[in-house]
């Protein structure tokens, strides 16, 4: 960790301590760091937060994977073929303009209140993000590389599988990274408003309506850490897999 990072962290916590010790903000809304830390450890010791984390991760990864599996091929096809592009462009543009939260009732009606509705919504938003990135990755592939392959006698299929696809890979992976953050947001929101027994979103929501504020803060921190670690993990894989990105 860099010195600056550590210093800013210390400063942040110090301001927090100052605010709470002088009661500058109602302690009901902003408990002291100590209370939050205690609540944080209680989540793991007696709060059984692991089950919630696992459930959230399960929904998220299932939805994310499903969205990617659907989004990548459609994006490739749209980037590749003008016909496919013009057939689907309007729908893609329209549905990505619809806030995903506005679709909750629709998904509830179709899939009920269980897990299916939750990971379907995650899949939906993942799919759109990945699809668009994939499509632009294909569309922005370098003409020169295609020309090179053509002079060497590559047919259209070979140009696509051996050149254009690889050019799209950095874009696809960047789309997946954006979608991963979005997936966590969406899954937490579904857990707050679509009713469930387990899940981080449900824990935050329940803590807030029952005024267990330190617990609420600590679950928020858990969700933040989760997103942070997922992103770090993804970047680690990305730099290994897409070693040529930006070069």
């Amino acid at each position: 960790m860099r010195k600056e990072t550590l210093l800013s962290l210390i400063l942040f916590v110090s301001v927090w301590i100052l605010i709470t010790s002088f009661h500058l903000i109602n302690p009901l809304f902003l408990p002291s760091p100590w209370k939050v830390i205690v609540a944080f450890f209680q989540l793991f010791s007696i709060g059984r937060i692991e089950a919630d984390i696992l459930k959230t991760l399960y929904r998220m990864i299932l939805g994310f994977g499903l969205g990617a599996i659907i989004g990548i091929p459609i994006g490739l096809a749209m980037g590749r073929s003008e016909k496919v592009y013009h057939s689907l462009e309007f729908f893609v543009d329209f549905f990505r303009s619809v806030p995903v939260t506005a679709l909750f009732p629709l998904f509830l009606v179709i899939f009920g209140i269980g897990d299916v509705a939750k990971f379907s919504i995650v899949a939906w938003s993942t799919c759109l993000i990945v699809l668009i990135n994939t499509m632009y990755g294909v569309k922005n592939s370098k003409k020169t590389r295609t020309m090179v392959a053509n002079t060497m006698g590559a047919n259209d299929f070979e140009v696509f599988t051996k050149v254009v696809f690889f050019e799209a890979v950095p874009h696809i992976v960047a789309g997946l990274r954006t979608a991963l953050s979005m997936a966590l947001i969406v899954v937490v929101v579904t857990e707050m408003f679509m009713g469930t027994e387990l899940g981080i979103g449900q824990r935050i929501f329940n803590a807030s309506i029952t005024y267990r504020i330190p617990e609420m803060y600590s679950v928020i921190i858990v969700s933040g850490l989760l997103g942070f670690l997922l992103n770090k993990f993804f970047v680690l894989i990305e730099t290994r897999l897409v070693h040529w990105g930006g070069k």
Binding site: T144, N150, T151
Partner: protein, 258 residues
């Protein structure tokens, strides 16, 4: 019959669906015969259509009128190597250098072990010192362009088309690349068409130097470069070189003040 024949070649750009739209005349009545194994350089004002001509010979773009034949065949039916100025946009950064060189062999369905063997022998034959197990972006600019040249030549094309291949390299590297290219040319005996914006380069490399006018581009003059081979850069200081350069410059001035 000549190896490459360009006859009454015309090319314009514009909206083909709209007959009334004004078209931009790029090439105007180009006639040129090139013999097998010749080194021909194209020289002319910026954006005059030299690259367009090279693209037509490569079969990348169609032409309006005239005839283009490589060994009696239309351009899209022959094997060509094409070298772009921008080597980093033409190499495949996801593949190791060896796989870049082997790409044409891979397209021909040659198994991996065999193509690696062919490639390393070929690189040795050309006398190139290229690390084959790293990625293109780990090489210097000059090395990357050599990699592209090796890739273009490995499947034995009939002609090597080079569009300002050394244009983005610094001067010192450029000179050494010219020497390496002449050496490769001597070893492979390929026909080379080379677009250059640099007059010394265009004379130094060539058997014949084709000087183009500004758009619509015509061939103003074809200079025979009768300098002895093998050449090195000392020749640039010779009387003969100087005389050729003066002559080329006079024609070139005519091209831009027309």
């Amino acid at each position: 019959m000549a190896h490459i024949i360009l006859k009454n070649l015309f090319k314009s750009y514009g909206d083909t669906t709209n007959a009334k739209a004004e078209r931009l005349e790029v090439l105007y009545d180009i006639n040129l015969n090139i013999e097998k194994g010749e080194f021909v350089t194209f020289f002319g004002p910026n954006a005059c259509g030299k690259t367009t001509l090279l693209y037509i010979i490569a079969g990348f773009i169609p032409f309006d009128k005239g005839e283009v034949k490589l060994d009696g065949k239309p351009p899209d039916k022959t094997r060509k190597g094409f070298i772009f100025q921008n080597y980093s946009d033409s190499l495949f950064p996801w593949s190791r250098n060896i796989d870049n060189i082997c790409f044409p062999l891979e397209l021909n369905g040659i198994p991996k072990r065999q193509r690696y063997e062919i490639a390393s022998k070929f690189v040795d034959k050309l006398g190139l010192k290229l690390p084959l197990n790293v990625f293109p972006y780990q090489l210097s600019g000059g090395q990357q362009q050599l990699l592209a040249i090796a890739r273009a030549l490995i499947y034995d094309p009939e002609v090597l088309l080079m569009d300002e291949p050394f244009g983005s390299l610094d001067y010192q590297i450029r000179l050494s690349m010219q020497m390496v290219l002449l050496d490769i040319w001597r070893k492979t005996e390929k026909t080379i068409l080379f677009v250059s914006h640099e007059i010394d380069e265009a004379i130094f490399l060539a058997d014949r130097m084709v000087i183009f006018s500004d758009k619509p581009s015509t061939i103003l003059e074809i200079l025979e470069i009768n300098l002895p081979r093998p050449r090195n850069h000392e020749i640039i200081e010779s009387q003969e070189f100087f005389a050729l350069k003066t002559k080329a410059l006079r024609i070139f001035k005519r091209a831009i003040t027309k």
